[in-house]
Symmetry: C2
Subunit: 162 residues, 2 copies
DNA sequence: GGAATTAAGGACATATCATATCCGAAAACC
DNA sequence: GGTTTTCGGATATGATATGTCCTTAATTCC
């Protein structure tokens, strides 16, 4: 069970976009340079965010991405699901139905108890991510990242934001 | 993020082994037939359980698998990790280190805030599974599976248990 | 002792998915 | 009109999941 590294990319990109002044856009090129990522591939992750209506885009020079909602209205789960998909991590292939002792055509009334427990764990994972807002991340980062790096990073970003 | 279907297989096999009388073994062949699975491949999952010391084996005719501990001493997480590995679902590739604004040779004191949150969610998933014992599953199944199917299944199993 | 049966594990084949690159179209800016 | 950007499709590559086959060693039964 491995998450795509695109999740890490998307979360870090959103953290940067959250620090952008009202109305400004940041291009894929800048986000890729800032994080040392392949531009073309990072673009796919950003497209996923766009399809999930988490970010807005505009074309042309000075175009790029900005958040579609305020950072306190976006949580980690939305971002993770945008790039990773909403499918549950455990998929039940209903192997209990292969039991040779089951009568012909017998139909289960409930999902299997095994699957229900695995799905409950999945939901616990989702709940944790749902509870963390993008604004919480930005707060933490602004405390933990050394002030001079934090400042120079956003200078770097603003120089490139259209 | 998708779990191997071997997790489903292992959990269902453990549920069956939990119903085995003291000292009896059940072969891969029987477990594969009961669940409609490829014998050779299911064998890999059972080997993983064996390496994790969750089950014991014996060779020869009448050989096979039995639980190494009582069902109340085995939880879902142990079984899942035996098959799926203990690696965390989120891996941080430390893309923050690629920030061109960071001074040469700067070293982070803490893991990235993004990673910490993702790991927290991972831990919530693990906690949920850790809290469910194999004996809990057996209780639920014995209530939910129709009595006649439950009974005939274990007759079927006992006929093949060495 | 010999034949049959079993788990263990290595070698190999295949399918699916993550990762990555490239290109053309449409939109926005100059 | 030329440039820059997002978007989507096509394609290539590597890793992982899935599945099969075969050999070896241990155990049971005759
Ligand atoms: S049949 Fe799929 S989890 Fe039980
Ligand atoms: S650098 Fe890996 S999660 Fe932030």
């Amino acid at each position: 069970m491995i998450l795509k590294s695109q999740v890490e990319w998307a979360l870090h990109c959103c953290a940067i976009l959250a620090g952008l002044p009202e109305g400004r856009y940041l291009s894929t090129k800048a986000l890729a340079e800032l994080h040392g990522l392949p531009k073309e591939y990072l673009s796919k992750a950003l497209q996923s965010l766009s399809q999930a209506s988490l970010v807005e885009t505009t074309l042309g020079p000075s175009g790029g991405y900005r958040l579609a909602k305020t950072p306190s209205d976006i949580n980690f789960l939305e971002i993770a699901e945008a790039v990773e998909g909403k499918a549950r991590s455990f998929t039940c292939t209903n192997i209990r139905a292969n039991n040779p002792c089951r009568p012909e055509g017998y139909c289960d009334s409930k999902p299997c108890a095994v699957a229900r427990i695995m799905w409950e764990a999945d939901e616990a994972w989702r709940d944790t991510l749902r509870r963390v807002r993008l604004s919480d991340l930005v707060s933490t980062l602004s405390e933990e990242v050394p002030a001079d790096i934090w400042r120079s990073t956003f200078e770097w970003v603003l120089k490139r934001a259209g």
